[in-house]
């Protein structure tokens, strides 16, 4: 096993993502990271809001108009789902940290639950926003 010249032992490699059959825990894991990256962008929007507010009414009105435009609303819809999904996935991780929930059946169910809860919460937020006349 050991290479005589470098002393580096041949290490086991895991197969590349493309040859795995998709399953829900894998999708849930990738989605956790993807929504985390999306929320990085969301935090930049929060910074932009604070900067716009500190820059006075002209800049603030432009910023709010940008967020309220159709592309702005699509981004905010994606961020709503990202926030809820990342939150539920985070709760899942906290349960795992306690040493529970690792059996395949439970992990599958909690993955579906996180996706389902995030979708329902996102829908609820936008329905409430619509009922308040914000859309």
């Amino acid at each position: 096993m050991a290479d005589a010249t470098t002393g580096v032992r041949a290490r086991p490699l895991s197969p590349h993502m493309q040859i795995w059959r998709w399953h829900v825990t894998m999708a849930a894991s990738i989605l956790t990271r993807a929504t985390g990256v999306a929320l990085y962008g969301g935090a930049i929007l929060l910074m932009g809001w604070a900067l716009a507010l500190a820059s006075g009414p002209v800049v603030y009105d432009d910023y709010v108009a940008l967020l309220g435009s159709i592309p702005g609303k699509i981004v905010l819809l994606g961020l709503t789902f990202s926030a809820f999904y990342h939150l539920f996935a985070g709760l899942r991780h906290l349960v795992w940290d306690s040493g529970k929930g690792f059996t395949p059946a439970v992990a599958d169910r909690s993955a579906w639950a996180a996706i389902f809860c995030a979708a329902v919460a996102t829908l609820a937020v936008w329905v409430v926003a619509g009922l308040m006349g914000k859309l």
Partner: protein, 130 residues
């Protein structure tokens, strides 16, 4: 675990950097704090959406709103710095590029946190400039 180490690594007596636990705990603690803060933020965004500048100024002048916004920003930028760091360490193996991206991520998150906090404080504590 000793079986996975190279003879060279064993000879040098190197193990982990011994700083992983701090990162792990920081990520978990900030995630717990972010659960109520993010739920609060979603509720706030619905309320402020489409509102006027004067409404937003009046809102941020409440000490509770300003404090929670600052806590959200500090906790959020800290948590995302930790998360992006893991992503960079997972996917970028070239040492120079990795170091550059890690520094960029750290500096960006720190700058964003300061900009957000100072902007909030300026409006929240400002003497009615608008």
């Amino acid at each position: 675990m000793a079986g996975y180490r190279t003879p060279l690594g064993r000879a040098r007596g190197l193990g982990s950097a011994k700083t992983g636990v701090g990162h792990f705990i920081g990520e978990r603690v900030s995630s717990v704090a972010l659960v109520p803060l993010v739920l609060w933020a979603v509720w706030v965004v619905i309320g402020l959406a489409g509102g006027s500048f004067d409404e937003a100024v009046a809102w941020i002048r409440s000490p509770i709103n300003a404090s929670l916004t600052i806590l959200l920003a500090l906790t959020g930028f800290y948590h995302m710095q930790l998360g992006m760091r893991v992503i960079i360490e997972d996917y970028i193996s070239k040492p120079g590029t990795r170091a550059a991206l890690l520094l960029l991520n750290l500096f960006f998150c720190c700058t964003a946190a300061v900009l957000t906090v100072l902007s909030v404080l300026k409006v929240a504590a400002g003497g009615g400039a608008y």
